[in-house]
Subunit: 230 residues, 2 copies
DNA sequence: CGGTACGGTTGACCGCGGTCAAGCAAATCA
DNA sequence: TGATTTGCTTGACCGCGGTCAACCGTACCG
């Protein structure tokens, strides 16, 4: 457990709590708890009660819905500054998803009641949370659109293009199996499609590193797929 | 356009604005606009600016994301008391979905700025909106889970069981094509699956009316499907 | 009335993507 | 260092669900 003194600085850098005045920051600091989570450990499981929300300080967290057969569908990834778990907290329902650390992570946990009080004192906090939830809704709708309206190849290409890249090179942030789940595919299919793109000379894969020599060509490939469907 | 006097009564019955005091209600009433939408008309299209939110007073609205080929994927249905469009309003982004009336409907429209002011005066309104967005997030996650982790038959059975029924009889609220889209299916497949359930003696279909003589048997059928997958 | 547009059903076909299994390379550990 | 596990790839196979087409009943309309 790190010393409590870190908390104020940590909080003030989170999008959710930016621009709080000193008083409010002190209040929130008192209400927050640091949670250290090792890689592969679960933050919470499906069915756990949701009494508060988490903010990622460092590390990365995977939100997924588990299936009966041990499979799982990754809903979203969270990195530093992201908040998660709010929706279930507001609903007063147990989590229907599970959260797992993809790296050693440091989280901030805030009790629902303390957050309620903070909102009463500062409506702008509520607005920021509304904005945050809206973003999440937006990405979920986009995901649904992606899964329903695009085929596997389109989804893969779109993912490759959506990731940050420098010098025409992008990195898979996690294992390919996890990426596959996020894309609604099996690892086998993802592997095959990447191989297909490699054969077409559009990318070259080396472990987690992917070289994209001609971004425009890759984009063109995706639109060609789209046209084929229409 | 109906007389303005209706607005106060309408608003005070919406979940979002319940428990407002007279002053606040008067303020909101002044900020609200009634919008009449005929069946098949669009409330907004993809790309329209989102300057406010809608609340359904009477009627029903379909939220869908349009595809290139004229297809569409239904995201959600909204009935009386439901609010929609908030997420895009808070994001200050144009709509990425379209809203269409499934019946002649009466909507209430509230300007973003007026709502902002109302939140500042009454944090409980913000909390109610947070709860509303949370519900939406919840159902979206559930949808993603359904589409990714369950096959077509399971989705159909689950839909049949999720709809309100009396005397072992349920009604399709809309055209089967629209239901099919919401379930991520083609109308053909939905038709076939319903026929299959009929052959199995689990349901009997007559137009929009579906008789479910033995609910438990139908539930059992769904779990059997689940087991087969695992 | 016949014409037609629409929603729904049915049949024939097929391709996408999942499943199962084997094999391989790198990481992890005794 | 060898043993074991984990991540990834590849091949063979196949079934679910989509596509395309024809057809049917009903509602709507001139």
């Amino acid at each position: 457990m790190r010393p409590k003194t870190d908390l104020g600085a940590l909080l003030s850098h989170q999008p959710l709590f930016r621009n709080l005045d000193a008083d409010q920051l002190a209040l929130m600091t008192a209400a927050c708890h640091q949670v250290n989570i090792e890689k592969h450990q679960f933050v919470f499981h499906r069915g756990d009660p949701a009494n508060g929300l988490y903010v990622v300080a460092v590390g990365s967290i995977k939100l997924a819905v588990p299936a009966a057969n041990g499979q799982e569908k990754v809903i979203e990834f969270f990195g530093p500054g992201d908040a998660f778990g709010e929706a279930f907290m507001f609903l007063d329902k147990p989590y229907m998803v599970e959260a797992q650390a993809l790296d050693d992570s440091l989280l901030i946990w805030i009790d629902k009641r303390d957050l309620d009080a903070a909102i009463d004192r500062d409506p702008s906090l509520a607005k920021r949370m509304l904005a945050g939830l809206s973003v999440r809704l937006h990405t979920l709708v986009k995901d649904i659109e992606t899964v329903n309206l695009q085929n596997a190849m389109q989804r893969v290409v779109m993912y490759l293009l959506s990731q940050p890249r420098e010098d025409g090179e992008m990195h898979f942030p996690f294992n390919k199996g996890i990426i596959a789940s996020k894309l609604g595919l099996t690892p086998e299919t993802l592997s095959r499609l990447l191989h297909q793109l490699t054969d077409a000379g559009l990318i070259s894969v080396d472990g987690k590193r992917v070289l994209i020599p001609d971004v425009a060509a890759l984009e063109h490939r995706m639109y060609a797929e789209t046209a084929r469907i229409s």
